[in-house]
Symmetry: C2
Subunit: 258 residues, 2 copies
């Protein structure tokens, strides 16, 4: 029987409220069994960019990561935010170890090729070094992984945190029974915008198509759910999308099923 592993991805919103962050980390530290935390931090990076006089460039709804922006992203994700999470988890007796994809060659990526748009230093994952993660986990360490990868040729790359969480889950699915939990500001997928009582408890491939047609699932929720289905189709046991409350109870969330 495989060990249970919970992979939690939390969005950058969590850093905007210290009380909420502490409460989230307290619940995270109480998850029984092995666990990994994946985080982004786009909003905080944007704030620092502005302070440094770097104007964020967004093309077709996606951020362009030029050299200067990448530096800010690395400073924010791997520095400020990752070490905040790690030191706070240490306080909670969770032996956290902060990592980027470059550390221990954990996550390799390929710089996205220029087709219509040059997104700059953005990476698409090519390989996850699952054995080193397993070694860490079996040493009772809790990996806290920020949304950066590397190309193996000296270049750090900015990579979507949802995608990192999905690819880690897939890579580790033959070693563990993986539950993947996406925590965002929303309680899951809502039938009616803003109406929390209209939470959709389960979405499968068929209902997903219908919900997209009806425009109930749109914009940023599409790539997130694509990541969910990718994980499920590649051996991940359970996938949930919800608010930070899903760490307490999976009831208040949307569970994805194939």
């Amino acid at each position: 029987m495989k060990n249970k592993l919970t992979i939690v991805k939390v969005g950058g919103f969590i850093f905007e409220d210290e009380y909420k962050l502490d409460s989230f980390l307290s619940n995270f530290s109480k998850i029984s069994g092995d666990k990994i935390l994946v985080h982004g931090g786009g909003k905080i990076a944007s704030n620092f960019s502005k302070k440094l006089g770097i104007i964020p460039l967004v093309l077709e709804g996606r951020r362009v990561t030029d050299k200067e922006t990448l530096d800010v992203v690395v400073m924010t994700y791997a520095g400020l935010l990752n070490k905040k999470l790690v030191s706070k988890l240490q306080k909670l007796s969770c032996n956290a170890i902060g990592l980027s994809g470059a550390d221990a060659n954990l996550i390799r990526a390929k710089k996205r090729s220029i087709e219509n748009v040059n997104y700059g230093y953005v990476g698409d994952i090519t390989h996850v070094e699952k054995n080193i993660l397993q070694k860490m986990i079996s040493s009772d360490l809790c990996p806290v992984i920020c949304s950066l990868t590397h190309d193996g040729n000296g270049q750090i790359l900015n990579t979507n945190a949802d995608t990192i969480a999905a690819e880690l889950s897939v890579a580790l699915a033959d070693l563990y029974d993986v539950s993947l939990k996406y925590c965002s500001e929303m309680p899951g997928v809502l039938e009616k915008l803003g109406n929390y009582d209209s939470l959709i408890k389960t979405i499968n491939s068929t209902s997903y198509k219908k919900l997209k047609q009806k425009n109930i699932i749109s914009d940023g929720m599409i790539p997130k759910l694509e990541n969910c289905f990718h994980a499920l189709k590649n051996g991940v046991d359970k996938v949930f999308v919800g608010s930070i409350d899903i760490l307490n109870s999976e009831e208040k969330s949307t569970q994805l099923k194939i």
Copy 2:
């Protein structure tokens, strides 16, 4: 017989010249046997502080780390510089893993108590978790450690990189034959300021006292050499102070002896 372990500390100057950095890392990656890299980055952090409008406060020759400065220091050391070193070492087939003292509870410290001066978020080391370092090293990982520690209570602390290198060396001295190499902009201790031919090849406790009396050793060199003697007195095998050339040849450096 114990394995050989080389601990190299390099100052922030190395980040000011990309060519020099690459050459240093190439030589570092070629060190045979187990190795650890410790780095600071004060100058780069100061530059970012200025860009963000934070005025560095220096009291009695030492930097005061207030909350805002600490954030910049964490971003610079654990983010920008640490990940630059790690990704470049990965390119050189050196399986680097970037760490702060908070990661894996590696280096605990106590916030310096306020006596005459409040230095802010500065930590004095109380414990090094040597077993986890040994596990990493025996997994063929190369720890790259930035000059940050934590208090175990959720607080990251700024800690002198020379001191971190010395304390790591001392902690690991009963597991390895440790050589500690301090790389700075100077080729070692010079008898005559600016005259590289006047390099002092060896300094022991007796000659150290005399050189201090003659003011040949002064200012920042004093705490550095105090760290060296602390390491030697506590089991570290060899200690050298020199330029980055000591990675090639120990000839062009000052060796400390008890």
